[in-house]
Structure formats: C-alpha cells, structure tokens
C-alpha cells in the first residue's frame, strides 16, 4: 500500500512539475512586451506652432496628448484619450472643452469630466518652456 501511494505520488508530482514548467514557459514566452525605446519620452515643439487658435495633438511616447496655449502663453498638455472608452477627444475652441465623439462625454480645460459617461479626470503632462521651444514630458 505504501509503495503504491509513493510511486503514484512521485509520478503525479512529476506530471504536475512538467505542467507547471510548461505554464511558466508559456507565460514568459507570450508576455513579451516590446520595451519602450524611450525611457522618459519627451517631445519638443517650437512655440510658434502653437497658438490659442491652433492647438496641437501630439504623441508623447505611446500616448496622445493635446497641447494647448491658454491666454498669456501658458501651455497645458492634457491626455487626449477619453477615460470612458479610450476614444480620442476633440478640442472645442469656443467653449474651451474637450468633447468625446463616441458618447458625447465632456471634459473642461483642466481635464475634469463635467458631463456624460466619463468619471475619471484626464492625465496631465509636464510642460516647460525652454527658449522658444515647448517640451512636454511624462
């Protein structure tokens, strides 16, 4: 009886180890993520290209960002991805709000949701001016 359980347990254990090994192996194979080439993504734009009437939709690393000039040369960089279902937001110049074309969600110019399905605010990016360039970074 003891022999039977021992051998069967060893056999079972071996099979379980193999199955576990294959799981680990599959996991590490399938979860390869293309490492982002830029460790700290940042984007430089000449400031003459941004004006209150002409904001820019740029990409910082892999993320889409709206770069807007407010009155008085104050720039803000806010994520352009709606926190509801990831659609790209549009900027309404007159009312100074972000509007999502998918479900008509609205964010104010700081990125706070004020109407519609979205409940989480938009991510803000760091902006600083250097000479006549604007640098946006994560």
């Amino acid at each position: 009886m003891e022999r039977r359980n021992f051998l069967r347990n060893i056999f079972g254990g071996t099979i379980i180890l193999w199955v576990g090994g294959i799981f680990y192996f599959l996991l590490s194979y399938l979860s390869y993520a293309r490492k982002g080439k830029e460790v700290f993504p940042r984007v430089k734009i000449p400031s003459r290209e941004i004006s209150p009437s002409k904001p820019a939709l740029i990409k910082v690393g892999e993320e889409h960002v709206w770069l807007i000039e407010n009155e008085g040369e104050i720039f803000s960089a806010i994520s352009a991805v709606c926190t509801h279902k990831r659609c790209i937001l549009e900027w309404d110049r007159e009312s100074k709000r972000f509007i999502c074309p998918c479900h008509k969600g609205i964010f104010d110019k700081e990125g706070n949701p004020i109407f519609g399905p979205p409940s989480k605010p938009l991510k803000r990016f760091n902006v600083f001016k250097k000479g006549d360039e604007i640098i946006v970074s994560d």
């Binding site: 192996f25 599959l26 590490s28 194979y29 399938l30 390869y32």
Partner: protein, 363 residues
C-alpha cells in the same frame, strides 16, 4: 462518490461523453473502435483492457512518432504565430525578434524547424518500410494512399513554411524550389493557382502563410483522421513478430505514448540547443548568396529534370507520383515475391540517395 465521479455523472446525463472520447481517440490516442452507446465508464474500461500488438516496438513506432511530431509542429507553430508578421516589410524583423529577443523564442523556432526536418525524414522512412513489408496489400490500399498523401502534403507544408522567415537562405531556396516545381506539369498548374505565380512578391508571402497555417494543417488533420480510421477498421499489419506479446491500452500503451512524447521533447530540445538555426540577413532579391539550393528532399529531382531532354523529366516525375498513388491497384500483380520487394526497397532507397547526392553536387 468522489467529486470527479459526481461531475462525470452530471455530464453524462447531458452529453454523450463516450462520443467525445471517441472523437479524441480518433486522433491516435486509441486504436480500436469505440461503441458510443456505452457509458463513458464502460467505454474506458473496455479501452483499457483492449489488447493491441506492441506498437511501441519497431516498426509501428514510426506512425506514432509521425503523429506526435505533427502535434508538436502544430503547438510550436501556434506559438510562433503569436509574433510572426507575414508582410514583406516585417517578416524578417518579426522572425529576428522571435529568435533573438523573446524569451524561449529561439527554442520554439528551432523545435519547429527541426521538427519539420524530422517529420519529413520519418515520413520517407515510413514509405520505404511500407514497401518493404508490402503494406499495400488488400485490405490496406487506403492506408498506403493516405500515407503517400500525408507525405506530399507535409512536403508542401515544409516548402511553404520555408519562405516565412524571409532571410537570404529562405528566399533563395524557395526560388530554387519553385523553379523545380515549375517543371512538373500538373503540380505546377495546381501550385500556380494556389500561390499565384512563381515570382516571390508581397502577395506570395501572405498566400504561403495562409497555406502553411490553415490549408495544409487542416488537410493533414483530415488525412491523419482517415489514416487512423482505416487502421481501426482493418487493424495494424501483423508482422512476423519475434514475441507474440500483446499489451493492453492502459497502462502499457498510454505510458509508452507518454515516454515517446518525452523522448521526442528530448531530441528536439537537444537539437535546438546544439544546432541552432542562424538567420542569414534579410532577403535581398538582388543578391544571391553562394551555396544555397533547394530543400534537401527535393535535391533528387534536380538530375531527373536537368538531364532528361525535351522537358520529359517533369513528365517522368509526374508519372512517378501518379504511380505511387495508384500503386496498390497494380502492385499486387507485379510484386508477389517478398524477396523481390525487399531487394527493390533497398534499390529505391539507394537510388534516392544517389540522385540526392548528384543533385547536391550540381545544385
């Protein structure tokens, strides 16, 4: 009642488990016929005590090996498909990523590559031994025909897969392979239709890819199923066995299968580590590297096609192929004597090797 038994009872009231078991076993797990009217417990019990000739022994082991290798190819192929991109622009880069950057990617790629080579070798071996043991005699004609079909479709799979990494070696050996196939009359037209011409361009890769991961594997699954089906009906050929040793399905056969699986894993992994395949740089249609030629099992066709004048070489090959397929229907009349077949087997194998070496020299 143990929890497993409870689950099985619950399932059996709702679905015919024996039918599902017979479906799975149709692909080689079990070589007998299963009566789907039995309950699963009875079916399993009958299966476990069913007596079989010792398959683990030579020469039937070739069949099991083929199927196991095929399963390995399917599994590694699926894993590769997660990362491979079949476009002109990124085929090479995605393959390089698999081999160089992804953890264990090199292992999967090499297993797939070596598995393909081994599969073709074993299939050729099988045909030779079918001939040797006269396995085309009634009632095994279908067995033979399906065996030849499996070999041809596997070769097609190999050739279409060869192009996919799109490095210098793949590209140019595919060009040479296509050049040979172009000269065989009927096959060339079928190929032309399937692949869309004999030039390698953007559309070619996608078609090759589709053939390689959908069409040929599906065909092979069907052929394997038919192959097993005919064995289930006629039984395996009884050879002059040294010991009339019958074994039961459980535990002997099942565990032999398990052992065989591990041995195959061992061989494939060892080959992958010691004889890794190297990428030879991105395919450059303007620059042919020296030393490339067609795939090794196509080499024997080169002398036949080159040295028989007036394009008759291609016709000869086609004739040979048709004869191979229809062999059981006239073979019995010609090859009655057993010693003749045995001698002829060696002669054909020898001829194949000589032609291959000749092809290698003049490639």
């Amino acid at each position: 009642m143990s929890p497993i038994k409870k689950i099985i009872k619950w399932l059996e009231e709702r679905i015919n488990l024996t039918e599902i078991f017979s479906f799975f076993s149709a692909f080689g797990l079990y070589y007998g016929e299963i009566d789907t009217k039995d309950s699963i417990e009875e079916a399993l019990k009958k299966a476990s005590i069913k007596e079989l000739p010792p398959y683990g022994k030579w020469p039937h082991v070739l069949g099991i090996l083929t199927f196991l290798l095929f399963v390995f190819q399917i599994i590694t192929g699926m894993l590769l498909a997660f990362y491979y991109q079949p476009t002109l622009l990124s085929a090479y880069e995605s393959t390089r990523e698999i081999i160089r950057d992804i953890s264990f990617g090199w292992l999967i790629f090499n297993i797939h590559r070596w598995g393909a080579d081994l599969l073709i070798i074993i299939l050729i071996f099988r045909i030779a031994r079918f001939f040797y043991h006269q396995v085309w005699e009634k009632p095994r004609e279908l067995f033979w025909i399906i065996g030849i079909a499996i070999l041809i479709v596997s070769m097609g799979s190999f050739l279409t897969g060869k192009l996919l990494p799109f490095d210098q070696n793949s590209y140019w050996s595919t060009v040479r392979n296509l050049e040979i196939i172009e000269k065989i009359p009927l096959i060339a037209s079928i190929f032309n239709f399937l692949v869309g011409g004999f030039l390698i361009e953007e559309g070619t890769i996608i078609r090759f890819y589709f053939l390689h991961i959908v069409v040929f594997p599906l065909l092979l699954w069907i052929l394997f199923y038919l192959h097993f089906s005919t064995v289930r009906r006629v039984g395996l050929s009884a050879l002059e066995l040294k010991k009339e040793e019958k074994i039961t399905f459980y535990p002997s056969h099942l565990f032999s299968l398990l052992t065989a699986t591990f041995i195959i894993i061992f061989i494939l992994v060892t080959l992958s580590v010691f004889f890794s395949f190297r990428l030879m740089g991105k395919a450059d249609p303007l620059k042919t590297p020296s030393g490339t030629g067609p795939s090794w099992f196509m080499l024997f066709l080169i002398p036949v096609i080159e040295y028989i004048p007036w394009g008759l070489g291609g016709f000869l090959v086609l004739l040979l192929l048709i004869l191979l397929f229809l062999f059981p229907f006239f073979g019995e009349r010609i090859f009655r004597s057993k010693t003749l077949t045995k001698v002829l087997t060696f002669f054909f194998v020898f001829l194949y090797l000589i032609l291959s070496f000749w092809g290698f020299r003049i490639k």
